[in-house]
Amino acid sequence: MSETVLLDPGSERDPVQREPRGLPADLAGRTVGLLDISKPRGDVFLDEIARLLEAQGAAIARFKKPTFTRPAPTGLRQEIAEQCDVVLEGLAD
């Protein structure tokens, strides 16, 4: 049997791993973004998280994806980046 050559059907990708940015030591005075991905029941969870984080001294900024089935629009991502120190996204189920 002679040697066989196959062509790779895949992405041929070997992504460089990036690390998350450094995070604040304390949330007091920081703005925490809450991004609702628009899955049912997520809003109830996020309302409670907002209340609890405010009690820790954080300012809360709320955002919502138009639909859970698509990635967040670029404009929304930019808005979050401009306004927030950290962002929490949820609730995926």
């Binding site: 992405s11 990708r13 992504p15 460089v16 791993q17 990036r18 690390e19 998350p20 450094g22 995070l23 604040p24 030591a25 304390d26 949330l27 925490v32 899955k39 049912p40 029941r41 997520g42 109830v44 969870f45 996020l46 409670e48 998280i49 609890l52 984080l53 820790q56 950290v86 929490l88 996204e89 949820g90 609730l91 995926a92 189920d93």
Partner: protein, 62 residues
């Protein structure tokens, strides 16, 4: 933040994109929960969320 059924999905997407966001998982299911149950899930998740938002790298992000 996701329910714990979605750990594998998050890991796979993180591997592919080269970025593992910090994540916290709450017990599945979600959609048939009452409001009170959802709030209780949020309260239980709070310590993990605070830890996730404040700690510096080297954490296992799953």
């Amino acid at each position: 933040m996701a329910s714990d059924e979605f750990r594998d999905a998050a890991r796979a997407q993180g591997d592919a994109l080269g970025f593992h966001a910090r994540a916290i998982y709450v017990p599945h299911p979600i959609q048939d929960r009452t409001d009170e149950e959802m709030k209780a899930l949020a309260r239980d998740a709070l310590p993990g969320i605070l830890d996730m938002l404040r700690r510096n790298p080297t954490r296992d992000n799953e």
